[in-house]
Symmetry: C2
Subunit: 231 residues, 2 copies
């Protein structure tokens, strides 16, 4: 098993033989943390869509639809990108449509992989265990923010990569492991100077960041199957 980390969507084209690899899509604040939460709260599936217009079409067909652009809930949608919006009483046994700034774009970019997996600190150990069993080369794909490298996705890549010390790691993985080792004692503190923290804190959603920094609170792995994220 080889482990490679892609720190920005602009670097995703460096992945060779995508169809033989497992891609872990990482958008810690907040898409992949929220997707994991939605499935944990009993939804049947999350349908990731890149375009707001397509999400609106689903809405007109009666689906529950969540969406965010630049950190704000899209007008007329049922939910934003906060995990706290998706409570069990509303979403249980439903298919939920979701579109976000960075995360859903990356899911689409990775869709030709052998398998696309959703990773977050919430389900870290479950993801590591799952990809270990698949025994394929792994791509840790950080969504970043508008193609820029971000800290929280990189640190999560390091958390996953650090479980593979005996495997062949690329330099980006080694970089994120070093960074994760320095930060893991207090993730929330490590993220306080990050751009995304400051962006979300300015919108008053510091509690979302605290939530997304929790490790191993959820024991399931969302996987892309026929365009839907399911467990």
């Amino acid at each position: 098993m080889k482990i490679e980390t892609i720190l920005s969507p602009l670097l995703f084209k460096q992945v060779e033989n995508l169809e033989s690899k497992v891609v872990v899509v990482i958008d810690i604040l907040r898409a992949t943390s929220t997707i994991t939460t939605i499935l944990n709260n009993g939804a049947l599936s999350v349908i990731p869509v890149k375009e707001e217009g397509i999400a609106r079409e689903y809405k007109s067909k009666g689906y529950l639809v969540g969406g965010e652009r630049n950190g704000e809930t899209i007008e007329g949608f049922d939910f934003g990108n906060s995990p706290f919006h998706y409570t069990e009483d509303i979403i249980s046994q439903k298919d939920i449509v979701l579109t976000t700034t960075n995360g859903t774009k990356c899911i689409e970019m990775a869709s030709q992989a052998y398998q696309v997996v959703i990773g977050s600190f919430l389900n870290l150990d479950a993801v590591v265990s799952h990809i270990n069993k698949l025994n394929k080369d792994i791509v840790l794909f950080c969504a970043g923010w508008k193609d820029k490298v971000n800290l929280e996705d990189s640190l999560f890549a390091g958390a996953v990569a650090s479980s593979f010390t005996d495997e062949e790691l690329d330099d980006s993985s080694l970089l994120t492991i070093d960074a994760y080792n320095a930060a893991k004692g207090d993730l929330f503190k490590a993220l306080q100077n990050s751009n995304h923290f400051q962006r979300l804190a300015s919108k008053g959603v510091t509690k979302d960041i605290e939530y997304c920094c929790q490790i191993n609170t959820i024991n399931l792995v969302p996987v892309l199957k026929e365009g839907m994220l399911v467990t």
Copy 2:
């Protein structure tokens, strides 16, 4: 002062207002370590050229020419990319032409900046002191390896960025600072699993890596002026 780190040449287009910024070009193994060494050993200048053909033209005019592609000395050139090739007795008071796989490409990409500076662990403190005095926004530009992120350039970016704790750091800078803090106790050891280490070690030039991991052995800063790197 804002500090941003560019982890791969593919991300350099994210730099805005380049002409107002100071760019530190970083190619630790080995271009920027070698350039710093060449000037420290008494050369008048290093003329960085991107194309091998242009270097050959200089050679035919009587210049001393160094060059490497994929880690190997170019045939017919006076030197490769090893700092040990450029001894004082040969290069003192000469202009040296240099072309390398990654480093000279990045110098050209950055050439429209307010100033282009050459950084390596050898002259770390000198670089930090120099860019502090300029009081401009800083871009730490990692050359990487064929557009891929590499560990040694990223760690050096972290070493520089960690001197600017009170400044506004982007997420890539925060990532490299965390990684540098984990690695700085033994840089040579931290690099032993890196792709470039293994590439150079396979060519028998581990001593070059040891050399390039030395911190603050040289107290000068190469700066690009009219296409030439001078102190």
